[in-house]
């Protein structure tokens, strides 16, 4: 009886090892796109916030600037004008409504900045890869210089010089994060440019733009899409850190970063008004990172990792 169990265990072990060998480096890549349950939950969280971005202001029980009497930091419960599900903040505004309104500012600004960063980074990166020569040299040197600075310092310098407004925030974040997109797009572009199919297209007499559109971009799309998620997280952290410092989205507009700052003093009175927006940021950024992690874990996976 025990022997049988031992035998079975040994058999399963051998099977598991064979399974490991199926992932040798030269095995063809699996095309199946499946996530673990963590990945699916994370997708749901991200989708939830994206929907709130659009419908948040219309389902919020109060306007983001409505003040209810003089009582700040009320606990959750009924108030003078209605029910406060998450309590009120330091100016006795409904925290839930402000979190719902804040989604639009925080995620909207970050999304706009990331898209702009991608537009600039990919255009310049592929241009540099395709044209080469002094264009490549020039853009790359400028890029390296910006990349050599801490992002928050760049943000602080620009805001010290120009002041803070939403277009400046979007523009600054876009330029800062376009530098990393540029590096990736350029490397991918250079990789793809030396492939046989690109050479064949060039020999056929196709123009530069046709090659970029039909050969380079489709092949660079998947790695760039994974990177987009990571970049978006960095931009959300950057924007909300600036807002937290009081240098980003300006009051009275609701924004998750500035909401944490405004209500920080409330913590000592036992109010959780600073915790909810902080949790909102955390849930959004953690979920995106988990999705990206899930995707890259599926596409990677070496022999040693499985065996050790």
């Amino acid at each position: 009886m025990t022997d049988q169990i031992v035998n079975k265990e040994a058999e399963q072990e051998v099977l598991a090892k064979l399974d490991a060998f199926a992932e040798l480096p030269d095995a063809p890549p699996k095309r199946k796109f499946r996530l673990t349950w963590i990945g699916y939950v994370s997708c749901a969280v991200v989708a939830f916030w994206l929907i709130i971005c659009v419908v948040g202001p219309s389902i919020a029980p109060f306007h983001e600037m409505d003040m209810d009497g003089d009582d700040s930091f009320l606990p959750a419960g009924p108030g003078e004008y209605g029910y406060f599900y998450l309590g009120t903040d330091y100016l006795s505004r409904d925290t839930l409504s402000r979190v719902l309104y804040g989604a639009r500012n925080t995620i909207g600004i970050s999304l706009a900045a990331t898209l702009l960063a991608y537009l600039m980074g990919i255009t310049l990166g592929i241009l540099a890869a395709v044209k080469g020569g002094w264009i490549d040299m020039g853009i790359s040197r400028v890029n390296d210089a910006i990349l050599a600075l801490p992002t928050i310092m760049l943000g602080l310098i620009v805001i010290a010089a120009l002041g803070s407004s939403i277009p400046i925030l979007i523009g600054t974040a876009a330029v800062i994060y376009a530098t990393s997109v540029f590096r990736i797009a350029r490397a991918l572009g250079q990789d793809i440019m030396v492939q046989d199919y690109v050479e064949a297209a060039a020999t056929r007499g196709e123009g530069v733009w046709w090659i970029i559109r039909a050969e380079v971009l489709p092949n660079a799309a998947m790695p760039l899409a994974t990177d987009f998620g990571l970049r978006l997280v960095f931009v959300v952290l950057f924007i909300s850190s600036l807002s937290f410092l009081g240098l980003g989205v300006q009051p009275p507009a609701a924004d998750w970063g500035s909401m944490v700052r405004e209500n920080l003093q409330g913590l000592t009175y036992g109010s959780y008004a600073a915790i909810w927006p902080a949790l909102a940021i955390a849930s959004f950024t953690i979920a995106i990172n988990l999705i990206v992690d899930d995707i890259s874990a599926k596409s990677g996976g070496s022999l040693a990792k499985k065996m050790v």
Binding site: A145, L149, V158, L162, S241, F244, G257, I275, I281
Partner: protein
């Protein structure tokens, strides 16, 4: 070969510092209005403005002003603050020490913890403890620094009453009092920096683990712990040194947030105050100090990874 590469790195680092100074100078000189206007304020007449400009050298073309600014900065003359007219060097003096002290403590605590945890997670991949470490550190690096600080205040200061929620310092406290005041910012920064370092250490070791000689060791039956400590670790030292220097560089942005949230009298707090009051000379000076430190740490990371590579150290 190796000396040449190291010299090349140092050259690049130096060039980067020059470019950084140009960026900082241009960015803060875009706006109209200059120090002369600020000093004179409302009482400025065209004549007094022109006189003061000539006296301060502001009537000269941009590149000359840049070089004199750079020269002054090299010799320690950082200019005059807009607010109050104190010299910037006197404002920065003690605060620079405070920030360096905090950064030093963070490095002392976080480096051993991170390497130990990273190694330990790499030794037991796939176990639930490894998953806990991976999931926990991934969550920690995806949240803003102020989230960690807020939760730390909530738990340690508000709920448990163990630590003060601000890092107020008078300069005359005993060592124990100093530690108590510093505890909160230190805990926050150590968590922020360690999470990243643990992940990168673990990834570095696992990366080495996929090389052929490790596969050989696995196939001949060497125990897992021994493979990691005797074979993988020494080849991962280069990447790990790199990780440490990079993360100390990332500390720059963490310091900015943490000093603000805990009202710690450091350089970053001074800079944020400068940005809020648009005190450009002060912002310029602080930015140069932070960016310079950052570039130097990145340089150390680069040189460290060259020096720790035996193939570059002993050329054929």
């Amino acid at each position: 070969m190796m000396t040449r590469m190291v010299m090349q790195r140092i050259g690049i680092g130096f060039a980067t510092l020059i470019v950084v100074s140009i960026i900082v100078f241009i960015a803060t000189s875009i706006l109209p209005g200059d120090v002369a206007q600020i000093v004179l304020g409302q009482s400025a007449t065209p004549e007094t403005l022109a006189a003061l400009r000539a006296q301060l050298g502001l009537d000269q073309p941009g590149y000359i002003r840049y070089f004199s600014w750079l020269g002054n900065m090299m010799t320690g003359d950082l200019g005059i603050s807009k607010a109050g007219g104190a010299t910037i060097s006197s404002l920065i003096g003690g605060r620079f020490g405070n920030t360096m002290m905090m950064a030093g403590f963070v490095a002392l605590i976080s480096i051993p913890i991170s390497i130990a945890l990273g190694l330990w997670a790499a030794m037991h991949p796939g176990t639930w403890l490894d998953r806990l470490v991976t999931f926990g550190t991934l969550s920690l690096i995806s949240v803003p620094e102020f989230f960690i600080a807020t939760v730390a205040v909530l738990i340690l200061a508000v709920e448990l009453h163990w630590l003060p929620s601000t890092a107020y310092m008078t300069g005359e406290e005993t060592f124990f009092e100093l530690m108590k005041a510093l505890a909160m910012p230190l805990i926050t920064l150590v968590i922020v920096v360690s999470a990243q370092m643990i992940r990168m250490t673990r990834a570095g070791i696992l990366n080495v683990m996929s090389s052929p000689y490790i596969e050989m060791a696995i196939l001949k039956g060497v125990p897992r712990g021994r493979i990691i400590l005797r074979h993988a670790f020494f080849n991962a030292i280069g990447p790990i040194i790199n990780v440490i220097a990079l993360n100390l560089a990332y500390l720059v942005s963490g310091v900015v947030i943490v000093e603000t949230i805990f009202a710690y009298p450091g350089l970053a707090k001074l800079m944020i105050d400068g940005v809020q009051t648009r005190d450009l000379p002060l912002v310029q000076a602080c930015a140069m100090i932070f960016c310079g430190t950052y570039v130097i740490l990145i340089l150390i990371a680069d040189v460290g990874s060259i020096l720790s590579n035996p193939r570059l150290r002993n050329p054929k």
